[in-house]
């Protein structure tokens, strides 16, 4: 649709949520465009889950928030025709049978394809007669993913979707998402602590800290702005003069993380690297728990 391209999928202005005296979200504003995979990353208690809950209409908030042009507080049912959500693996009701779950979602969701769902399930060991309580954690997330990927939604929200899964399930989870689900008409927002596993699929990065946005950039911009330089001890003082974000030692050399310093100047100091999201995160969040 043409209007989807013109309007952001999510548009937040001064989004605020307070629990008692703590600001879970402190006047944050951001846009999320269609066709992006956004990683929402922050330390525990930074407000990630609150932001997602606000987007999904699961929590009241102050400020202005539009998701697909709708107000999540008052139009949740309508919104959920276009938005899918996987919290963590524990949210599928334990009493339900696989066949009942499929029948239910098929009945309430106008954009659900039963054929697609059954095709996904046929690649797993999950049988229609099984109850969720009989499934392993990994199988529950496969079932949830099969239900969600069979829905032609505009926005998929994932809140720690692979928490507690072994590495095989984690890998196949993100692989399925990328190869069988994601395309330019879809948008994915994901929060996770396992940054290394998602960083190669993200197009955008949002760091959140104490209810505020600490960084919001595309992965390309991150690559341009930030650089890591491995510096020999003799040039370390020159490097420190450029005010690095972070410094760490390895094999007698110092690794400095710089924000927005010309490549040419950095190259003179030592070997240049693209910083990993995890390193960038650690540098940005320094002193969070202090």
């Amino acid at each position: 649709m043409s209007d989807a391209a013109a309007n952001p999928i999510v548009r937040a202005r001064n989004l605020t949520k307070t629990y008692g005296t703590t600001h879970a979200l402190d006047h944050i504003s951001f846009d999320i465009e269609a066709g992006r995979i956004v990683g929402l990353i922050g330390p525990n208690g930074a407000g990630k889950t609150t932001a997602l809950k606000a987007i999904l209409g699961l929590v009241d908030f102050d400020g202005d928030l539009r998701v697909l042009g709708l107000d999540p507080r008052t139009q949740r049912a309508e919104l959920m025709e276009q938005v899918c959500f996987i919290a963590d693996v524990a949210v599928l009701p334990r009493w339900i049978k696989v066949s009942e779950a499929v029948e239910f979602v098929a009945g309430v969701h106008p954009r659900f394809s039963r054929e697609k769902c059954e095709a996904f399930l046929s690649h797993t060991k999950i049988a229609p007669g099984m109850r969720v309580r009989e499934l392993s954690k990994g199988m529950i997330v496969q079932l949830h993913l099969a239900l969600v990927m069979a829905i032609d939604a505009k926005l998929l929200v994932l809140d720690e979707p692979t928490l507690g899964l072994d590495i095989l399930y984690r890998k196949s989870f993100y692989e399925s998402l990328l190869s069988d689900y994601f395309d330019e008409n879809k948008t994915i927002i994901v929060t996770t602590h396992q940054v290394e596993e998602v960083e190669h699929i993200l197009t955008d990065l949002v760091f959140i800290r104490d209810g505020k946005i600490a960084l919001a950039a595309t992965m390309d911009e991150v690559g341009e702005r930030y650089a890591e330089v491995m510096v020999n001890p003799d040039k370390a003082d020159a490097a420190r003069a450029l005010k690095p974000l972070n410094e760490r030692q390895i094999f007698g050399k110092s690794i400095f993380l710089f924000d927005g310093i010309e490549r040419a100047r950095l190259a003179a100091l030592g070997e240049l690297h693209k910083p990993s999201v995890a390193d960038l995160f650690v540098a940005t969040m320094k002193g969070t728990y202090a």
């Binding site: 699961l58 996987i86 949210v91 009701p93 049978k97 009942e100 309430v108 106008p110």
Partner: protein
């Protein structure tokens, strides 16, 4: 809102044990005891050769028309008994169903799955209220009726074994008329139950923990506080308002047929006495009597209160997700 039939199916999937198997077990146990009673009577009779007050062999020889009609009355009572006992089962099933309906999925966090689907909170709450008004009572009624048919079969076979034809007794009873009268009570019971349905669903949606305690203790404390204020001579709700009856309806009106009292105030104790009188109970099932309740403000005040409580339940369903545990 067009999702509601599927949402009610969902409720049945989750609560098959309470909605279907509980009445099946209750009536099954009655039938088993009926058979056991017959067998032990036979055994006692065979071993002692003592004439009990109730001898089928005597009956066969000396039975009169009046006796048949009395036997028919007894069968009518038995039919009512099957309905009554399953109704008590329905009460317990619904009480705990409604207290958990908007609470259990918050506690195990599966509410996050249900809320990820395009189903409005109004439709969710409505499907749960309708399950309590219609699905559980109707299933229990069908099961009770089937059990009564089995009961007739057992009695006929037993009588037949003694060379006695039980059909005249069955013809002297009113199984179809009774069935129809009981069917007619179902809508009235459903409307009458609304205050309790609303009350229990409200606490289920509202509390962060222990819905049972809140739902039960609040009316009890209000009642005791009022009594105490009365003793002190302080301003209080006077006795002629029947506060106990009003508060009792918040908890007990989900018992099918609990409106069966001339004043329809649903106080359990007082109408149990009346229920023991067979003439009274059969006449109180007369459709004109049953639908006379529709003319009572009592019923309509309860409906308004129930709908208001349901609206409050929807309000909190939209806003409360977390529980204390």
């Amino acid at each position: 809102m067009n999702n509601i039939p599927l949402l009610m199916k969902r409720e049945f999937w989750e609560h098959r044990g309470g909605f279907l198997w509980a009445p099946v077990w209750i009536t099954g146990v009655i039938l088993i005891f009926t058979v056991l009673g017959i067998l032990s009577a036979e055994a006692f009779h065979a071993s002692s050769h003592v004439h009990m007050g109730f001898s089928l062999d005597d009956l066969r020889e000396n039975i009169s028309q009046a006796d048949w009609s009395q036997a028919g009355n007894a069968l009518d009572m038995a039919q009512l008994m099957f309905g009554g006992v399953t109704s008590v089962g329905v009460f317990f099933v619904l009480f705990f169903y409604l207290l958990g309906a908007l609470y259990d999925d918050r506690r195990d966090r599966s509410v996050l799955f249900w809320k990820s689907l395009p189903v409005s909170d109004t439709a969710t709450v409505a499907s749960k209220a309708l399950s309590a008004m219609v699905v559980a009572p109707v299933i229990a009624f069908v099961v009770a009726t089937a059990a009564y048919v089995l009961f007739l079969l057992i009695v006929t076979l037993w009588a037949g074994a003694h060379g006695l034809n039980a059909l005249p007794a069955i013809f002297a009873s009113h199984p179809l008329g009774m069935l129809w009268r009981l069917v007619l009570t179902l809508p009235v019971s459903a409307l009458w139950a609304l205050p309790a349905i609303g009350w229990l669903l409200f606490w289920s949606a509202y509390v962060r923990s222990k819905p049972f305690l809140w739902a039960v203790m609040v009316p009890l404390i209000v009642l005791m506080l009022n009594w105490w204020l009365g003793k002190l001579g302080a301003p209080h709700i006077p006795d002629d308002v029947h506060l106990a009856a009003i508060l009792g309806r918040l908890l007990f009106s989900i018992l099918p047929g609990s409106w069966m009292k001339a004043e329809g105030s649903g106080v359990l104790v007082s109408h149990i006495k009346q229920s023991l009188d067979p003439d009274h109970i059969v006449s109180s099932f007369d459709p004109s009597n049953v639908y006379g309740l529709l003319a009572e403000p009592n019923l309509w005040i309860g409906i308004v209160a129930g709908v208001a409580l349901l609206a409050a339940a929807i309000y909190f369903r939209q806003r409360r997700i977390e529980t204390a545990t």
